[in-house]
Amino acid sequence: MKVNKEDNMKIEDLKKLSNEGIKNIPSVERRQFLQFGLAITGVFLGGTVLSLTSAKNVDGAVSGGKILDGNYPYSPHYTMVIREKHCIDCEKCLDACRSTNNVSLHGYRTDILERSVPKAPGERERIFMPILCNHCNRPPCVRVCPTSATFKDEINGIVRMNISKCIGCKTCMAACPYNARFFDEEIRAIDKCNFCYDTKLKESNGKITACAAACPANVRVFGDLTNPDTPAYKLIHSAGKVFWVLRPELNSMPNVFYVEK
């Protein structure tokens, strides 16, 4: 990517500014940095220093200290860690999700986004990014639902649906920053990922979801944040490990984390 003189100057100027954290940086600015091949990130392990790092695939990354405070309000506190660079877009997870949960053809519960990320000047890297409901700790979808048709399970934190209460106002769809919900005309209610609550998760005694079980590259690592022995826990609790969530500036506190490998 060509960075011209003027752009360089802007970055130099910004580096001189005192740190205010990333939450006040408008998305336009963030986007401009990405265009330069740089991303605004926090510093890991509890720091809140503004740093400009190579964008590669850490857009929106923030420090572990900010998105994980060590308090896991649910037990088990389910999570999924996505080992992004391992994804080969075979879509076996998508098929498994659809067949296990009988997902209608009106929509999908999980998807794979293909990204073309600036790597070095003139070079781009292709990355496949699985997305699904983040089972946010502060879920905007739950907050807005007028009839509590969508709710956060008080035991395990899964954001679930009670389809018989859904009036189809679609406010939750408008509120979800991650495009994780759709209206299924067949059941006349919202459908969304529920970590296979009533299917694979139940069958496996809370061990795994259909997508994670189907993934040949072990990209989707399902686990419990209250259990330090699970691989998912370890993936985001190792010193120096870079991990991030999507769109952290919205403060929805996702429970789906991303790591490179």
Binding site: M129, C145, P146
Partner: protein
């Protein structure tokens, strides 16, 4: 035979007003029947909405009519609650219009729901007080009840009682208006209405459209009834036009803030959406609808009319109402057009999502507007028959 003789001829006439009412009602029914069809087959099949754009054009007439009702109630309160003499001659019509505009708004939002029949059960059995949309439905439904009692008391000439209901209705609807903002503002992930000025903006828009509706519909009513307004009515309209002008200047300020946001991202919380509105694909709509029709043209016409030329005031009002309708449409739609993952260099992701209202959505909107017009004419017929208009 004896009974027939007793009925005054004015109760059984079927003149031009009645014909007009039937025509408007038929058009409204045709439009609304598209809503019934959409309910039967499911919105996915006939609406332009999608997973990415879940809220379509029907939210705009809902916001438009609910805010209009609020504005009418505020102007009503000037005469009925605050006893400002000059506004008293327009109390009855304003109260009626406030009621039917709210009914129209609630009808629009009902037809926007996929399962409206579940609302009465689960809004009561499974309420979610943290949800603004739950409050909004509850507040506006209560408002309608208070307004019905207000009208009934006015009809029975019990002004004291009417005033009490009017006070409760005003408090209720103002809460609803403030809630309308927070309802959308928490949808921060989608670049919706989260600007700091929004609560005041909504209140200004509501009162402004309320004034416009009074100027327009009093003029139409005078034409329909072939009446010349009394001096007291003229004074009321002149006072309303002054308020209208002041609010137009207020809206001019807010429009200026929006324009700044469109050109300079630091002036807005939604830079992507504001750019799209002011400089992007929506720019023609914005400049024609929100700037010229909603503000500039009405200001010029009100100034030229000097508050006396009723026809000119009516045109200013139509222009303003059409302009504010486009404004609400933009408020609902533009924020949703910014893709969820726009920062992620996703291959094949459009720069903006797209949305076009479908035939069904457009027809329901037309049906709702004609429902309101039919209700207005019905009100005029009723007022004439029971001698209630003044």
């Amino acid at each position: 035979m004896i009974l027939e003789k007793k009925i005054d001829s004015k109760y059984i006439t079927f003149g031009p007003q009645e014909i007009l009412f039937v025509v408007l009602a038929i058009i409204s029914m045709i439009g609304l029947s598209f809503g019934a069809h959409a309910l039967l087959v499911g919105h996915d099949n006939v609406f332009g909405t999608s997973r990415e754009i879940p809220w379509g054009i029907l939210i705009s007439p809902y916001v438009f009519f609910a805010c209009l009702s609020t504005g009418l109630c505020i102007v009503l309160s000037l005469g009925q609650i605050f006893n400002i003499e000059v506004f008293k001659p327009i109390i009855n019509r304003t109260a009626f219009l406030s009621l039917v505009t709210m009914a129209t708004g609630l009808m629009c939002i009902t037809l926007e729901l996929e399962n409206p029949w579940r609302v009465p059960f689960f809004a009561l059995l499974s309420p979610h007080p943290a949800s603004n949309i739950w409050w909004k439905t509850t507040i506006y439904s209560l408002f309608m009840i208070f307004m019905v009692f207000n009208l009934l008391s006015l009809f029975m000439k019990n002004e004291k009682k009417a005033r009490i209901f009017s006070i409760i209705a005003l408090l209720t609807v103002t809460m609803g208006n403030l809630n309308m903002n927070s309802d959308m503002a928490i949808l921060g992930g989608r670049g919706f209405w989260s600007e700091n000025y929004m609560p005041l903006y909504f209140l200004t828009l509501s009162t402004l459209t309320g004034c416009a509706a009074i100027l327009l519909f009093t003029w139409i009513a005078n034409k329909l009834n072939k009446e010349t307004p009394t001096e007291a009515e003229n004074n009321a309209l002149r006072a309303t036009s002054r308020l209208f002008l002041a609010l137009l200047v207020g809206l001019l300020y807010f429009t200026g803030v929006k324009i700044m946001g469109g050109f300079y991202p630091e002036f807005t919380k939604n830079p992507e959406a504001m750019y799209l509105l002011v400089q992007g694909n929506f720019a023609p709509n914005f400049w024609i609808g929100e700037v010229i029709l909603a503000v500039i043209l009405p200001i010029l016409l009100v100034l030229l009319s000097r508050g006396r030329n009723k026809g000119m005031l009516a045109i200013a009002s139509i222009s303003c109402l059409v302009g504010t309708f486009t404004l609400y449409y933009h408020l609902v739609i533009v924020g949703q057009l910014i893709p969820h993952y726009f920062q992620f260099n996703v291959v094949g992701l459009p720069q903006y999502y797209s949305y076009t209202p479908s035939l069904h959505e457009s027809m329901i909107t037309v049906g709702a507007i004609f429902f309101f017009l039919a209700a207005f004419v019905f009100g005029e017929i009723l007022f004439r028959k029971i001698n209630f208009g003044k």
